[in-house]
């Protein structure tokens, strides 16, 4: 109800989370930092929308969480990919590539029949 930023943002955010978690398990704040790095200047991801997204993805069974201790000896909730999450990432990446190839092709098109 409060989020009017559209599906693209949500879908993209989820893909970014999956991508980040495919590298290593991370806690929420770490994820926020990583996503900020990854999408610098492209998407402005509010840190606040990260947590509901994580909750949704947990419900979908893409990620799971557990409490661990950080390097600084702090307790934090870490998120990691499930096998379903890995498949989802693969699928989304494929989809993304298909779409972006199409976009590239359209941009490269200079007339005539395909």
């Amino acid at each position: 109800m409060t989020d009017h930023s559209g599906e693209l943002l949500q879908g993209t955010l989820e893909m970014l989370v999956l991508k980040a978690l495919s590298l290593e398990p991370m806690h929420g704040w770490g994820l926020a930092q990583r996503i900020e790095q990854m999408s610098r200047d492209v998407f402005r991801v509010s840190q606040g929308s990260l947590y509901p997204a994580l909750q949704r993805m947990k419900r979908k069974g893409w990620i799971r969480s557990e409490w661990r201790v950080t390097e600084n000896n702090r307790r934090a909730r870490y998120y990691m990919l499930t096998p379903a999450g890995e498949r989802q990432l693969e699928q989304e990446r494929a989809e993304w590539e298909r779409v972006s190839r199409a976009v590239n092709w359209v941009l490269a098109w200079e007339g005539g029949t395909a």
Partner: protein
């Protein structure tokens, strides 16, 4: 795959909500901490660093809310909150809650009780049958010829053979004869059991399994009497033989014949009709057991329509196709049966008895009562809707406050609906309690014990009904209440009222009155019917009569021995203190059997004969015992029975038939064989007309002849000993049985039954209909009266200030009372008019249950309308009196 984590997460969110909330708080605190430290590391002051961290996160509370929403259980949180709110609101208004819950409990309780009966009669296939949906009852329709079964009825054994051999649409078809009473054993151990004659494949067609032993073979069902075998029901086996295993191979005495038990059916199966069966015997045993007059002829005689059928549909065959196929097989066979309808048809019906053409009067009544209780529930819902609307006035402010604080309309509707449903469920719980308390009512129905008791299906029904009623009566008030412009609602007082708002409520009252009137009209008609049935003069004094019968002929006693035994029985029973008299009759009164007699129609008024005339055989003193008045002449004396001259007694109807305008007493008229062979019978007496069949059928002219000397007496039917007692006849049953048993040690079962029992069986549907209709009609009226009272109560409350002004301007108390009562009587009058119209239109629904009264009986309709008007006035008077008591000073201060 995906469903499982989803489910698990939602479940966790649900069950460990507090834990989840704590975890989230900790997680967010950690996030802020890390961000703050990062900000400090970038050179911010600690306070600023913390502020910026919060800004980056976007508000702790919002994130928390959004994350909770993402758990997908938000609706549940809302529901819990709504239910809490509803319970609190209901607790705050105990009077309203009590009225609404009580009203609903009456409505739901009534429905639950009647549904238990309808469920037992209409919805449950007989237990113990494999794939009951594939099994059908087969009825034969014959429009012309000797046998006419226009609505579908029994046929002959030959029809069974024809269908068995020719109907390809049936995987199998079995024959059965209506259940009969069999005498088991002799002497003191004798009892009567319910037996059914079935074709050998009957039990296997139904897919019943034996508990011990086996079922019949085709061989055992071929030659009459060659294999005297029987299968017992599990219940009978337990009751009579304590479930002993050695039952197989044991010989029982059935109707005096030794019969070997070959098996016991499993516990579930008690037959396919509501009344359980004790013993099954193959069709080949019907004649040897004396169950068919004419011996084994019934299996070869095409006109003996005593057989019913069940069939299992062949795989993949539609019922209509199977019926057409069976009809073709019957038509083919009918070519050989002159005199019968050459083109019989076949009608298939459900295995559930009440759904077929043989449904009993009680089953019809049960269905009608389901309609009645549904109407009562509708009235109850209208009432609660009314109370909710009235109460809404008081809650407008609360609703307005919530709306102005940002609650959406959908949210408000949901909250009001939740309240209604909570109310309805409370009513449902109370209703089920009421149904348990009132379960005695279901015992009025002739059902096997416990069949209509509360079970899971009935509970589920009650729950569904409660839920549905909650939505039905809740939706209009919910929509209406949620449509409050905050500004209007907050303004308060009468200023917020839209004019004409009471119109819906008055319309609801009119609606309730109309429905109540229809129910009460039905109750009135059924009460008048019951009175008419009870007022039928059966031509005898039925109060203190016992009917005693012993099947001596079936048990093989010769005629002389039988007569000696009967004479002895009459003698001994007559000596019992408290017995006023005893006499023998061939066809017992209201027994249903009869025999036609020929008469000389050349000199008779044949227009008076719709059926019969019938003949019956009686001993001396019979009419005195029966309580039948001898109008002229005399009844038979002991000397008559020994005499040689043919004599007879006529009933009044027969007297008018034989001597139009005159008196046949003392005349000698040809009767029976005399009509063809010559001779005549002297008429020695005229008695009042006795009903020998059912009370609700017209009388038939009768001729009575002395019993012992007539060789034409048929082998079926009687005889019976009629006994008049001084006190309650049931108290004499044991003594009378003992007296008869003492005559000889090995008599068959001595059946002793008060005649009132037989009559009760005929009047049961009328009695159930009248009692329950009246009960529910009164309930409906009560609910409607409460509704009217409530509406008027609010009317008075709303107009307190107006009434105060009127009073202070000099209006008399009488005029104020008139104002209120008028307000109340307008919807009552409108409702009554609609109700009368409805009752006239719905009359046809009840017609089949009426006797001696028309469905449009004006006395009933006017009487009910008057009764309703009186109740309406009473319901208006209390609020009116309260209006008069309004102190003008207080009233004016109300705002």
């Amino acid at each position: 795959m995906r469903l499982i984590p989803e489910l698990r997460e939602r479940l966790r969110a649900l069950l460990f909500r507090d834990q989840e909330d704590r975890d989230l708080d900790e997680e967010l605190a950690f996030h802020l901490e890390m961000q703050t430290q990062a900000n400090i590391a970038r050179g911010m002051a600690p306070d600023e660093a913390r502020r910026q961290a919060h800004i980056a996160l976007g508000g702790l509370a919002q994130v928390r809310e959004a994350t909770r929403d993402a758990r997908g259980v938000r609706w549940l949180d809302d529901l819990v909150a709504d239910v809490r709110l509803a319970l609190r609101a209901l607790r705050n208004r105990p009077a309203f809650t009590l009225a609404a819950v009580a009203t609903l409990a009456l409505g739901i309780g009534g429905n639950t009780i009647v549904f238990g009966v309808v469920d037992a009669l209409y919805l449950r296939p007989p237990a113990g049958v494999r794939a009951p949906g594939e099994v059908v009852r087969v009825f034969i329709v014959r429009d012309e010829g000797w046998i006419r079964t226009r609505n579908g009825g029994p046929g002959s054994y030959l029809d069974y053979i024809a269908m068995r051999d020719g109907a390809r649409g049936f995987a199998d078809v079995a024959a059965m004869v209506f259940p009969m009473t069999l005498d088991l054993d002799r002497g003191e151990n004798a009892e009567q059991v319910r037996g059914q004659i079935v074709s050998w494949n009957y039990l296997s067609l139904l897919g019943v399994r034996p508990a011990v032993g086996r079922f019949f073979t085709a061989e055992e069902d071929s030659v009459a009497g060659a294999h005297p075998v029987a299968v017992l029901s599990h219940g009978f086996w337990q009751r009579r033989f304590g479930g002993e295993r050695e039952i197989v191979g044991r010989t029982l005495l059935l109707n005096g014949k030794p019969v070997t038990v070959i098996g016991v059916a499993n516990a579930e199966f008690t037959g396919i009709d509501p009344q359980p069966i004790d013993v099954w015997v193959p069709t080949a045993m019907a004649a040897p057991l004396g169950l068919m007059f004419g011996g084994d002829e019934w299996r070869t005689e095409p006109a003996m329509a005593v057989v019913s059928y069940i069939a299992r549909l062949a795989p993949g065959v539609e019922a209509t196709a199977a019926a057409a196929d069976a009809a073709a097989a019957l038509r083919h066979a009918a070519e050989a049966y002159p005199g019968l309808d050459p083109t019989p048809d076949v009608r298939l019906a459900s295995l559930i008895h009440a759904r077929g053409p043989e449904r009993t009067g009680t089953a019809v009544v049960a269905l009608m009562l389901m309609g009645v209780t549904a109407v009562v529930l509708v009235i109850a819902c209208a009432n609660v809707a009314n109370l909710l609307l009235a109460r809404g006035t008081a809650r407008r402010r609360e609703t307005a406050v919530r709306a102005s604080l940002g609650a959406t309309r959908g949210r408000l509707v949901r909250q009001h609906l939740t309240e209604s449903v909570v109310l309805a469920l409370l009513g449902g719980v109370a209703g089920v309690a009421l149904a348990v308390a009132g379960s005695r009512l279901t015992r009025m129905f002739p059902l096997p014990t416990g069949a209509a008791d509360l079970n899971l299906r009935v509970l589920a029904f009650a729950f569904a009904v409660a839920l549905l009623s909650g939505l039905v009566f809740g939706i209009a008030p919910a929509l209406r209440l949620s449509f409050v412009a905050p500004a209007d609602g907050l303004r308060g007082g009468d200023a917020g009222m839209r004019p004409g708002r009471g119109r819906t409520r008055r319309a609801l009252v009119a609606f309730q009155v109309a429905l109540s009137l229809m129910l009460l009209a039905g109750a009135g008609l059924l009460l008048r019917t019951l009175r008419a049935v009870n007022a039928v003069d059966p031509g005898l004094d039925t109060d203190r009569l016992l009917v005693v019968s012993v099947a001596l002929a079936k048990a093989g006693y010769d005629r002389d021995t039988r007569e000696t035994l009967y004479a002895e029985a009459r003698e001994r029973v007559g000596r019992i203190p408290g017995v006023e008299g005893a006499s023998m009759v061939h066809f017992a009164p209201l027994g249903g059997s009869a025999q036609a007699i020929q008469y000389d129609d050349a000199v008779a008024d044949t227009a008076l004969v719709e059926e019969g005339p019938y003949v019956n055989w009686v001993d001396d003193g019979f009419f005195a015992v029966a309580g039948t008045r001898v109008l002229r002449g005399r009844e038979f004396t002991p000397e008559d029975l020994a005499g040689a001259e043919p004599i007879a007694i006529l009933d009044e109807r027969m007297a008018r038939v034989l001597a139009p305008g005159g008196d046949p007493l003392g005349r000698c008229v040809p009767l029976g064989k005399q009509v063809d062979e010559g001779g005549c019978t002297r008429i020695v007496g005229i008695v009042e007309t006795v009903r020998h069949r059912y009370l609700d059928e017209p009388t038939v002219p009768h001729v009575y002849v002395p019993r012992r000397r007539d060789a034409a007496m048929p082998s079926f039917g009687g005889p019976a000993l009629l006994v008049r007692t001084r006190g309650e006849p049931a108290a004499y049953v044991q003594q009378v049985r003992g007296a008869v048993q003492s005559i000889a040690p090995d008599l068959p079962y001595v059946a002793v039954r008060p005649l009132e029992e037989t009559i009760r069986a005929v009047t049961t549907p009328y009695r159930i209909g009248a009692t329950l209709f009246t009960l529910f009609g009164a309930l409906a009226l009560l609910i409607a009266a409460v509704g009217l009272y409530g509406v008027l109560g609010y009317f008075v409350a709303e107009r307190t200030s107006e009434i105060g002004i009127r009073r202070s301007l000099g209006a008399t108390g009488r005029s104020v009372v008139g104002l209120v009562v008028r307000q109340g009587m307008i919807p009552v009058a409108i409702g009554a008019a609609l109700g009368i119209a409805g009752a006239l239109a719905a009359g046809r629904l009840i017609e089949s249950m009426l006797f001696g009264v028309s469905a449009r009986d004006p006395v009933t309709l006017v009487g009910v309308a008057v009764a309703l008007a009186i109740v309406g006035v009473l319901a208006s008077v209390v609020p009116a009196v309260r209006a008069v008591r309004v102190d003008p000073m207080v009233a004016l201060r109300v705002d």
